[in-house]
Amino acid sequence: MSTLLLRHRRRFAQSISYALLLLFALIFLLPTLFMLVSSFKETTAIFSDLRSWRAFLPVGVVTFDNYAYVFERGNFQRYLVNSIVITSITVVSSIVVNSMAAYALARLRWRGQTQVFAFVIAILIIPFEAIAIPLLMLVSQFPGVDFGFSGVHLSASMFNTYTVQILPFVANAFTIFLFFQFFRDLPVELDEAARLDGATPFQIYWKIVLPLSKPVIATVAILQFLAMWNQYLWPIMVVQSGSVRPLMPGIQEFFNRSPAWGQIMAYASLVTLPVLAIFVAFQRWFVQSVASSGVKG
């Protein structure tokens, strides 16, 4: 009898949990769903559907005109390519540059090591917002060197280049710290065995340590990808030309000049879908990398 009661109580608690989970799921799913659904509707239909659940359903006339407009007039393809170039180059070079430094700090003995480590830890506290304005001044003094699909070229200033959107974000104290934590916990015997075989420290790093570091590389890649892909403050200051503008300032500019919500939603969906697809495919890795970014200090 008491086990029966217990089972009833457990079932009751479970159904409450599910009710809450569903409620939260609606709250976190519906706005995104609305964006996707509305992108296939005419603007007048979006507004008339807003009065009911139809707002979240692909009902009525389904149209691809919004997407056609965005592709024709929204400069979407250009911005997408720019975002991909900027994000991928930054992520890859950030992994190499910061993991090298972290390896030197975690597994080699050298003069100045403790000071350099203290320096990296001290820098962790400086948020990008605190240096954005003086950095703007700094890069305005740099010579304009940029690259593109036609090779390297010089320009009048550092503004309106890929370089200015990549270089400041390659070296990153927090990324060094994440790599450092991972490298520090690898067994020492690993290095010692390789050293007896005559491997140099760099060979150990490249051939033994890095291949073992896939989890931390994934973490860094995901965090850096999210940060770079969604960057807004920096590009609106250093990019005025459409040729190197990434997606986020791009959609903002489209939003400011387009009055048609259908087109805006199509643009928003196009910007969001690639990231959502990557997220759903690698969601376990995303969750793990965010969780490991929390065990700090």
Binding site: S17, L29, A268
Partner: protein
């Protein structure tokens, strides 16, 4: 021969030490070469601008200017932080009687008028005023928008941190159960984090529309039309709340995942022991879960507060600081002066003050964590 044998034990450690030192030196070179690119990047793009911020704040540096930059001392800080209370006597006519307006209220001279007589009041603008006992007390600052920005950001942090962290903890507790379909729910709750804040701000601008917005439609539906339509982004008293709700919705998943990791690190035996002692679910939450999450909580609260202080994107996309400066933030103010008006010096000054706030929060965090160790 004998000497040779007695030599070897002496020579061997010396040779060993020699090769050891050589290895050490080679390792030193490798280490420095390997850390050089990252260090150069950090020095050039973090430390140098950081130092430049402090230097620029003492000059009249502009982004593009034909005039040479000059050292101006603390003038920028004075302009940013100067604040004063002015006591104003009512206007009197030639006979000495207090001038009164049509409603019989005393008439006070305007700040602009006083400014002409009193040089010290030059550049001050009114923030607020109150009439007490026959005098008007006027709070004035040289940059009232900055003080407004500070108040706004404090309000934002005060609202968004509990809301966002509370939501995160609630969803983390829900997800930390052994139920079917948990991965689906976790993915859904986390999904706004990967969506750009720019996109979310654009989409939510439509949700917040007074006439057509989903939020008002929803409120009208659940209240059967009793809640009048709210002008979410157009009402100075509400605009910040609208941004708070959206920001918490977007960022909550991040903290949820960190809470989840914290929850899973609490040993299960603690819960078993509490159960044996007859603790109910609420008591287990208060006496086992919350203490177990202490450090996670401190980290999340301080990190979210720091993030809140840097509020910029939502404002730039949705309100541009309006209505009536109700959503101006410190970073928005810094970008407005430093970038749009090209006044690098003043933008840097705001940035320096912003950083001091971040430092203050970090200090509180450290004290809280140290407090536990004692």
């Amino acid at each position: 021969m004998f000497e040779a044998t007695s030599d070897t034990p002496l020579a061997l450690p010396a040779a060993k030490a020699n090769t050891k030192r050589m290895v050490y030196r080679r390792e030193s070179w490798t280490a420095m070469l390997m850390s050089a690119p990252a260090l150069a990047g950090l020095l050039l793009f973090v430390v140098l601008p950081f130092v430049m911020a402090a230097v620029f704040s003492l000059t009249d540096q502009r982004l593009l200017s034909p005039n040479p930059t000059e050292f101006v001392g603390l003038r920028n800080y004075e302009r940013l932080l100067a604040m004063t209370v002015v006591k104003i006597a009512p206007e009197r006519d030639d006979a000495g009687a207090i001038g009164r307006d049509d409603d019989g209220q005393p008439v006070y001279p305007r700040l602009r008028v006083l400014e002409r007589k009193n040089q010290d009041l030059r550049g001050y603008k009114e923030i607020a005023s109150r009439d007490i006992a026959g005098h008007r007390y006027l709070l004035a600052a040289k940059d009232p928008v900055f003080w407004r920005a500070l108040a706004n950001i404090a309000l934002f942090a005060l609202l968004v941190v509990p809301l966002q962290c509370g939501l995160a903890l609630a969803t983390a507790l829900l997800i930390n159960q052994k139920l079917r379909g948990i991965t689906f729910f976790r993915t859904v709750f986390f999904s706004p984090v990967v969506i750009s804040m720019v996109v979310i701000s654009i989409v939510w601008s439509l949700f917040y529309d007074r006439q057509f917005g989903l939020v008002n439609q929803l409120l009208a539906a659940v209240s059967f039309g009793h809640i009048a339509p709210i002008d979410w982004l157009g009402d100075p008293g509400i605009a910040m709340l609208a941004i708070v709700i959206m920001s918490a919705w977007q960022g909550m998943g991040f903290q949820m995942v960190i809470f989840l990791a914290g929850l899973q690190s609490i040993p299960g035996e603690l819960y078993e022991a509490a159960c044996l002692d007859g603790a109910n679910a609420w008591q287990r939450f208060i006496h086992v879960t919350l203490p177990g999450l202490r450090n996670t909580m401190i980290f999340i609260l301080t990190a979210t507060t720091m993030q809140a202080f840097a509020l910029f994107t939502q404002i730039d996309v949705m309100t541009q600081g309006g209505p009536d400066d109700a959503t101006v933030t410190v970073m928005y103010h810094a970008v407005h002066h430093g970038f749009h008006r090209q006044n690098i010096a003043y933008g840097s000054t705001i940035t320096v003050v912003f950083f001091l706030f971040i430092l203050g929060i970090a200090f509180v965090q450290r004290r809280l964590i140290a407090g536990k160790r004692q």
